[in-house]
């Protein structure tokens, strides 16, 4: 054969795109965070803070504001399925 088609060099980005079409490979779940307590500063509107404080005061048993906020967070996490 005297005449052949010009050889085609496949660009690397086309090869990468072909590879990426494959399904992902299973990877191990990230390790759970180490147990402990971390301080997280939270920006909060003063009006909202006043409402929270009124709710804390309205509790039949006196609890710290921090505990009330944690309870609220846990309720939302449970409600949202986390």
């Amino acid at each position: 054969m005297a005449v052949t088609r010009k050889p085609r060099v496949v660009p690397e980005n086309e090869i990468e795109a072909l590879i990426a079409k494959g399904g992902s490979v299973a990877t191990p779940a990230p390790p759970p965070p180490a147990p402990g307590v971390k301080m997280v500063p939270v920006r909060i509107d003063t009006t909202l803070l006043a409402r929270i404080d009124r709710a804390v005061q309205a509790q039949p048993i006196k609890i710290p504001r921090n505990t009330w906020v944690l309870q609220a967070i846990l309720e939302k996490l449970a409600r949202d399925g986390f």
């Binding site: 496949v10 590879i19 494959g22 399904g23």
Partner: protein, 219 residues
């Protein structure tokens, strides 16, 4: 030669075939690298067992790779080994695609069962797609764990000849206990004592088909 043992159906015996090819290459005197690109990592577990059971070690080198690294690392290591065998999982993953961009041969085992041969079309589509990046890729289908009797083997063989993307190899491996007995000891069936003549003959036929025709021996 770079051989991928792949496909898109799990449980078809890919790891058994890949590990046997690696062992037979090593016994033939070639430097061989077995790449475990299957997230189940069974080939790696087999190699750990084989290294522990044999005084001389596995006889081949084994590494684990996933994703696009299968392409880049295989390209980097190709010059150091006479042959590279890549065991991929039974899914269309980035690992398998990356392997197919650099492979010379894709070997796809099929069980003689409907659910298995029904995946032939998808396997053929994958081969066609990967040939855009690797036009020289040769793809072979063959029957694994064939029945000792009955029509299913013949019927499955007929189906496997339906797609032009994969060439059907008439080199079946039977459903023989010798393969699982050997695997449990970190051995190939050719190394069992007492030997299983039929299982050994079958795997050697497949091995010779692949390597006698396709290799320029680099021992």
């Amino acid at each position: 030669m770079i051989i991928v043992v792949g496909g898109i159906k799990g449980g078809s015996g890919k790891t058994t075939v890949a590990t046997h090819l690696a062992i037979l290459c090593a016994q033939a005197g070639w430097d061989v690298l077995l790449i475990d690109a299957d997230d189940q990592e069974t080939a790696t577990d087999f190699t750990i067992l084989r290294n522990a059971r044999r005084a001389g070690g596995a006889g081949y080198t084994s590494i684990k790779l996933t994703g696009p690294a299968v392409r880049t690392e295989t390209q980097r290591l190709a010059a150091k080994y006479a042959h590279i065998i890549i065991d991929t999982g039974g899914r269309d993953t980035t690992s398998q695609r990356a392997a197919l961009t650099v492979a010379e041969v894709l070997l796809v085992p099929f069980l003689p069962r409907s659910f298995d041969v029904w995946t032939l079309e998808k396997a053929g589509s994958l081969v066609d797609e990967m040939r855009l990046a690797n036009p020289a890729l040769r793809a072979y289908a063959f029957l694994n764990r064939t029945d000792p009797r009955g029509q299913d083997n013949l019927e499955a063989a007929e189906v496997l000849q339906d797609t032009p993307a994969l060439h059907f190899l008439d080199t079946p491996l039977g459903a023989r206990k010798a393969f699982s007995n050997a695997a449990a000891q970190g051995l190939a069936v050719t190394e069992l004592k007492p030997p299983d003549g039929k299982a050994s003959a079958e795997i050697l036929t497949l091995f010779r088909y692949l390597f006698d025709r396709n290799t320029t021996a680099k021992r």
